[in-house]
Symmetry: C2
Subunit: 354 residues, 2 copies
DNA sequence: CTGTTAGCGCGTTCAT
DNA sequence: ATGAACGCGCTAACAG
């Protein structure tokens, strides 16, 4: 030590107790001093490690340390811990479209799974996630809207040791995990379900998404059922639920109204049900309505919403993310979620009418 | 140095180049070795400091270092940097109700302001923010839904040096900043505006919020205008925009329909406008509609939405947050946003009719 | 004026 | 139960 005798506080590691600032955050050394033990002991006690082979710390010491820590209000400095262990006790969720209920469901599921593990989910709403992740690390990262040209960035991140889970329909794992949940076939299932007992099936879809798989599935299914495609049965709306409501009213007010509606999201389907009921129709009898996505809200409402979607998507996603965060060092792979039909009250299974 | 001669790699600080793992992240020492300079020089070059008084590093060296860093793909380790400097280059936004457009606007504004400063906003969606913030630090933190009994937790965090900005109507600053934006008077302004040219004013409000200031302002304003309170003019809905749409249809289908609608949010007002137009009414002439919140969407739509709200709220909030993050060590205070009336097309200023 | 040396910060962990 | 060596980037003090 080169410290000037009279100035150097002995146990505190030298941070500015001498200066005018009040002591900011207590360090492990202060706790050690307070408890009259070494920093190593404090570390072992508070991080609960060293259970590897026998006790190692006596009960008396444990409580002395605990008390000291409480008294000082000690909280470990995550930056220091991260530097030493390489773990941040954090997972990052990179989510575009935070307004989307899908994103909220991801957050909720991860939150629930992470809390008991002492891991904090942080949400990154930056379109430029690749750059951010180059410097800010986490124990695992979920990225929801990857383009094919992001592949290089992903590879680089993976190579640096970032544990990545990527949501993408066709990308192959390459140092990162891929979460997959392909909509097309499931959506055809939905329309097909309606077509079993209906010949006049309309589609409620967001105006901007008419090139996507959810709408294509509609035209496909109509075509392969040998039915004519009726332009007036395509109800495009602006993406808001009010828009979906209004468009449903319009569809059902046609001279020759549809007897079933395929909505490309559960949220649109909910609006459609409200609109149909407003017009005095009995949903599931007078009119069949089916959604897409298998959200919990649909399951719980009355009448319960028929829908298609992956099973248990959010919880399993959260589970995998946290597995990775905890460092089970398995090889990355694909987590595929096949879609299923949930025929509930709003479009029940019926004896087939020709 | 106590290192065993033959094993210790000289410049790398000893991380496991020896082991089987590929080199994970390049460190500043590797860059220094690659460029043939000291770590200090690398640090000065890459962090752009030492600009205090003149350059300090020759152009030739600068480019040598830059090249070396690029070649290795060096990115500074934020944890190490944070430990040394106490800065994380991060701000945390603790937001409940992430689905609320208000939260999205906060995120968007902060994102925009933070990016050029090299600061990354991270969103915390944990109801238990107080606990999380005890261990995870950031250069500044915004907390949106503080209860009065959180005060103790806030004080503690502030004492530890966390820079806090708190959104609360009545709390006083105490080591943390308070953002304030009181709705009541502004809402009365809105209803008052409608009452200047209408006697039949309905209210569109969320069913659960009828004890809140936005609804109270309606009853208050009606009362002080000497008008009777008409139960059938209260249109409560479920919080969705489809619900607002449907409720507006109901209100306007009354035997004695209102000539103006006060909606307690801009989003409800937008739905109300859609509904009124659907019924063939000319908004701003046949019917006046006003919202609450002064969102940008309202300003841009046609007809433009009349509303009340704070001016420039999100950008100024973002500005203050980043000021704090950058450490301008001023005393905390209150940032108050008085509300204003924006009389636009959906409820224009009219010559007064008695 | 340019570049280097050396040591710090704080929690973890190996060897004693 | 402890001493002390880490990790990695920063920066005061110093040397050419």
């Amino acid at each position: 030590m080169v410290a000037v005798e009279g100035l150097q506080p002995v146990h505190t590691g030298g941070i500015m107790k001498v200066s005018n600032r009040v002591a900011l955050r207590p360090t492990i050394r202060m706790v050690a001093a307070e408890a009259g033990v070494s920093t190593a002991t404090v570390s072992y006690v508070l991080s609960g490690r060293r259970g590897d082979s026998g006790p190692g710390v006596s009960d008396a010491t444990v409580s002395r340390v605990r008390n000291a820590a409480d008294r000082l209000g000690y909280q470990p400095n995550q930056a220091a811990r991260a530097m030493r262990t390489g773990r941040t006790n954090t997972v990052i969720l990179s989510l575009t479209m935070l307004s989307d209920p899908w994103a909220l469901a991801v957050i909720e599921a991860v939150q629930r799974a992470a809390a008991p593990l002492g891991i904090t989910p942080m949400i990154l709403a930056d379109a430029d996630w690749a750059t951010v992740l180059q410097t800010h690390s986490a124990d695992a990262v979920f990225v929801d809207a990857v383009q094919s040209d992001d592949k290089k960035a992903l590879l680089q991140l993976a190579e640096r040791g970032t544990k990545l889970l990527v949501f993408h329909e066709s990308m192959e794992p390459a140092g990162f995990d891929v979460i997959r949940s392909i909509a097309g076939p499931g959506c055809e299932l939905a329309v097909g379900h309606l077509l079993r007992s209906n010949r006049k099936v309309a589609c409620l879809t967001v105006a901007g998404a008419m090139a996507g798989p959810r709408f294509t599935a509609y035209t496909e299914a109509i075509r392969s059922a040998g039915l004519p495609f009726r332009e007036e049965y395509v109800g495009d709306f602006d993406g808001t639920s009010a828009g979906a409501y209004a468009t449903t009213i319009r569809l059902l007010s046609l001279a020759d109204p549809p007897t079933a509606i395929y909505a490309t999201t559960d949220y649109a389907a909910v609006s459609a049900i409200n609109a149909a009921q407003r017009l005095g129709l009995k949903v599931g009898t007078d009119i069949d309505i089916i959604g897409v996505g298998n959200t919990v809200e649909g399951e719980r409402m009355t009448p319960s919403l028929s829908t298609v979607g992956p099973v248990d998507f959010f919880d399993r996603l959260a589970g995998l993310l946290l597995d990775r965060a905890l460092g089970a060092d398995e090889d990355p792979g694909v987590l595929d979620f096949p879609w299923q039909l949930f025929a509930r009250e709003s479009a029940p299974l019926k004896s087939i009418t020709p």
